[in-house]
Symmetry: C2
Subunit: 347 residues, 2 copies
Amino acid sequence: MARNEHRTASTLPVTPPTLADVAERAGVSRQTVSNAVNNPDLLRPDTLERVRQTIAELGYSPNRAARNLRTRTSSLIGLRFAPAQEGTANAAMDRFVHSLVEASEGVGYHVLLFPGDDEDPIGGYDNLLRSTAVDAFVVTDTYLGNPQAAWLSQQRAPFVAFGRPWHDDEARHVWVDVDGAAGIALATQHLIDRGHTRIAWIGWRKDSPIGEDRRSGWVRTMHQNGLSTTGLASRVEDVVHSGAEAAAVLLDESAPTAFVCASDTLAMGVLHTLWIRQLAPGRDIAVVGFDDSQVAQVYPVGLTSVRQPLEDVAVEIIRTLRALLTHQPVETRGILLEPTLAIRESS
Amino acid sequence: MARNEHRTASTLPVTPPTLADVAERAGVSRQTVSNAVNNPDLLRPDTLERVRQTIAELGYSPNRAARNLRTRTSSLIGLRFAPAQEGTANAAMDRFVHSLVEASEGVGYHVLLFPGDDEDPIGGYDNLLRSTAVDAFVVTDTYLGNPQAAWLSQQRAPFVAFGRPWHDDEARHVWVDVDGAAGIALATQHLIDRGHTRIAWIGWRKDSPIGEDRRSGWVRTMHQNGLSTTGLASRVEDVVHSGAEAAAVLLDESAPTAFVCASDTLAMGVLHTLWIRQLAPGRDIAVVGFDDSQVAQVYPVGLTSVRQPLEDVAVEIIRTLRALLTHQPVETRGILLEPTLAIRESS
DNA sequence: CACCTCGATTGGATCGATCTAGGGCGATCG
DNA sequence: CGATCGCCCTAGATCGATCCAATCGAGGTG
């Protein structure tokens, strides 16, 4: 609302009004104006009203740099921004970043992007941290076994990770993650409910903890429903043609009626094989992917896919970050959110 | 390189070293240290070396807030970040943002994201501008007829637009854009070279200047090659099923052998219709899309698509922005870049 | 009535960098 | 040999906000 009042000043003067200008015009001290902005409760109602009036008239807005210098904060959150790998369907970053920006805005933060350099994974972090350019970081690539989390912890830099510390049991930082196993369980149960019993899994190589986690959701749900998983699993690279090949082999050897995939990329491979074999997705064979990427949404036969609640992830991250930065006790070290299933024609 | 030297200081002290600390330790004045960082030429070589040594030892890095306050700059570039619309294939933003972040880094800038609100399109800009939180903006949504460009011009705020000012002949701001007509011309010529003569166009509604521009590339190239365009064009909404319907109608009425589309989204629709009619993309009918989105890359039958040189766009934008901010004369008011064609199996 | 409390307000110091003006000193020149 | 010039460097002021300690006046207490 204060924001709208400012708008009334239509043209920005050559040099914007300062707190001192407001103070003089309103006939109060600088501190009083500062309080009007930051601690309105301290002012007498009539004084507050007068100061606010003046602020609106002048279109005053506190100078960020000055405030940052004095308070030793920046209201900025650093995020290393790496683009989606070309050739994969993973466009989740886009949605996540947007959610993060929105959630940040809500509590007065802004998101600062900096480039990632795989050869020097902590370079960007180090610079921003040392020059006190950001208050905290959101780390999104912990799963790569990258040293950021450990390094930031050691530097006592505030940060929250999107992603569990899979390898490192000693990691003591806070994190938010999505329960991939639960998502795949959801997908598997969905297929079972549709009457499928021979449901195949196409996932990533064994050295991917995320992949193994998702796979466990499939195994668990199959077994809970008394179904066998033998001969129905495949572990491949996360590229389209690997998914296609795996699907071909599984169809020949085990005759599944449905596929659950660790990614939309792999699911696209499955769809390709079905297309070649003149099998109709959804009618002849069901397919489910993971990430609800644009590909899943735009593909002519809509691809059913596990959708991560990235909006909620962002909100939780910001909430936790705020707690960290205001030195409130952080309740839990990790937060695990449940994905949903975007059901389309392919299942 | 300075960056790496800093790294040697392994643990961040509770309060980072200041310029004064460096000065005292090196036995010089604060200004000399400042010069060592910003104007090394002013120092005698031996003094410079000594100061640099000390900077490295202490792991000093200038405090951003203090510098910003004094210099009245922030080294930040504001970018309103709206997510790709769900249900369309447009993931170009992702790639563009990354390119922008990279290009910014190169000249010492960082990218600050802020959320967009369609109901209050200038709110975010106004806030950041008035609080001197950013030095400049990159505006990406000029084509919507949004008032940002005009408003920012009026405020004398430095900004560069990605996108031409289509409607507004009086717009005097600088911009960078991609020549969509040239891209479609490229695609059309490519199809003609492959022997196609009946090439259809599926584009957007007439009120989209971008769509009409792209369309003109098709018209121009067809005519240049002595080919007719009558009965071969369709203008629809940018959603998959509209593309599918348009393709069906065109196939029935005009029997084209190839389709050029204004977007990958529409191209997906065409592919869907081909699939239903058991026509093989690339063999029976050629299809070309626009934007080289992830969908185009991941779709099992790779979709040939016009690819915008977003990396170059980002570089040009940053270059122009720097010129603006350092008050150098800006050579040209607008820069138009040529797209390329990512050729895949669909053509 | 002197003393104390408490809410509202104030002036000076401060955050850490850069800008400005000027000082020291050796080399050059009349 | 003293004046002048340039190079290298220094000290104090400054950017615009917030922190801190202190002040002022009104009201309550013994």
